[in-house]
Subunit: 404 residues, 2 copies
Amino acid sequence: MRTDKGTIETGPSLLGGVSLPAAAVFEPALAHNLAWMQAFADAHGARLAPHGKTTMTPALFKRQLETGAWGITLATAPQCRAAFAHGVTRLLMANQLIGEPNMAIIAELIEQGAEVYCVVDSAANVEHLGRYFAARGLRLNVLIELGVAGGRCGCRDLEQVLTLAARIHDQSALVLAGLEGYEGVVKADDGEPAAAIRAYAWHMVEAARALEHADLIKAETALITASGSAWYDLIAEVFHEASLGARFVPVLRPGCYVVHDHGIYREAQLGMLKRQPTIKQGLWPALEVFAQVQSLPEPGLAVVAMGKRDIGADQLPEPLRRYREGGHAEQTLSVAGWEIVKLMDQHAFVRLPAAAVGNGGDEVRIGDIIAFGASHPCLTFDKWRRVCRVDAALTVLEEMPTCF
Amino acid sequence: MRTDKGTIETGPSLLGGVSLPAAAVFEPALAHNLAWMQAFADAHGARLAPHGKTTMTPALFKRQLETGAWGITLATAPQCRAAFAHGVTRLLMANQLIGEPNMAIIAELIEQGAEVYCVVDSAANVEHLGRYFAARGLRLNVLIELGVAGGRCGCRDLEQVLTLAARIHDQSALVLAGLEGYEGVVKADDGEPAAAIRAYAWHMVEAARALEHADLIKAETALITASGSAWYDLIAEVFHEASLGARFVPVLRPGCYVVHDHGIYREAQLGMLKRQPTIKQGLWPALEVFAQVQSLPEPGLAVVAMGKRDIGADQLPEPLRRYREGGHAEQTLSVAGWEIVKLMDQHAFVRLPAAAVGNGGDEVRIGDIIAFGASHPCLTFDKWRRVCRVDAALTVLEEMPTCF
């Protein structure tokens, strides 16, 4: 018996057969984004290891790999296990591997044939990993994380990187396989973020060269990897310009690109298109949540059956289009002036303009279906056990299970 | 194969055998809370239909019913289906039932023997439900929602309630079974929330009497139901004082009480204990998230492997206790002065006092396990596919699946 929300009940359309609220990924935009980012990475001589934590949707991992991705990036050991269980054999855990139960998960994946990379930034963790994997008779690929002062994890300077590399060298069970960073935590003191991101990427290049110079890289081909979904173009450019040769392969790790968004990444893309005038067209937003008006209790207020349990709320979601229940995809109604003013666990408060309660053919009705866009897709995907892949006609092509 | 996070790997303790982060419910506090709230409802002549949306954990629904709950409250049709699939046969959907796919879910539950109540507040919805359930040859119990001006859903005055009751009367497939409200959206213009809550509860009593007087209640025993987990005492008092007789049975619907919290409900309880001097002891916080220090990159900063994907973030979580990995539950280390200053998707930034990086036996180490408390348990439960029920020794007694 299906017990979770968002499953298909009686038919194949978001306007008729699906229990709402439901999350939908539009196939045309999805296909565009998959091809776009792979072409971008290819053009910059980089491998693509999309961050899988965004969607935790094996059907999307499969699409990313089929489009040419080199592997999938993940944030935790259970996420790696989930991806491997669905056929992903090259796993880049862009995070420290802490805790023996998590080490056990990764050890088991390696025993089953997975190629796993994880990140280190402390002698204590290196010593623990070395001891654990030696006892299991396994070797683990590690990347040194280079962070920034005031940032998140990671070594803070080249000296720390080289010292840690020497500690890794002492552990026979560990293979130093490159350098990892995340530019998303770089702060620009002078208000020029692009310059600060470039400087950080060059700092990574410098660290990679220092490791090579000190002959501390054990892997035959090492990785230099960074990039989320906001500044990937600058990371790719610097790694490309640096021409690190055959020794370091750049790996890009954007995750949110696959469905883009209607918030922070839309904003970030405006900046990217401005600084990259040769790129004429960017990513398209592909993820929406469909929900219904459940109450019209007062003039100017619609309560929609969708809340923090259904959609990311870092920013308040944006009404995009409206349909009648049982209607057709091309018959959209206006949401001009509609605005979510409050989001509870299971309810959205939508402020309506005066026209919305009029008596034209366009008036709002109980049961009207609204498509909402959100910022930061990670925090929408994790609300769902299944996401609908739909075509432009809102026909459900596939129910894609998630594995959070 | 287990692919989701938080599952037991190699042993039975949160300090040794469980992949962290993990969410834990403490059995002693859970048992206390279950008994406490049932006794409270009994003492006020009320039935208890705990809101199940908080936990969506069938093992907890079972405990609530075994302790004496009359039914389980839910917010959506898929939630009702999930509860019914796990043995809950009396379902109070404290929300409008919108959309034919959702109506189909409820119709199927009724066909299978469920006793279902849902809420109405508009003629359009009453007409749609009446038509749909008549076509299915079924009868649906409905409760009229009484809201408040500036609030969420619900009729705004007695006239609207009586008009809607007459519409329900016209639908042979609908049974008017009482009145529903939610005091959590009442605003106190004069800064005296308790008085505003009481006034709202008396308004509900007045509406119930008006419905009875107009002979519009069809059900033999009707319900008058309200209350979340913040003001349940005032609702229970007013419904008790009102002595509505055999015709209306009060039903209380707190949800968060079952694990209480370390935030808004802790605050609310302080208010409850103050206005109820005969109650000497309240609910205990029972839900914590255990996570590990993954990086100590700078003096005064610990990065913990726990983020918005793992714990509710309406308020920043609170560090409660610290343990060494592999240690014992009674060997707690200090988190005095520790404070989460930022939460990302998978990381928490914890600001440490100078003492925490010292070299005493208490110094912070990579791998240290921190227990965190959060506000608003609904938004922690929904991050997990399994929650650990543990004893005071942190031994895992049961992995409880959730069904969001």
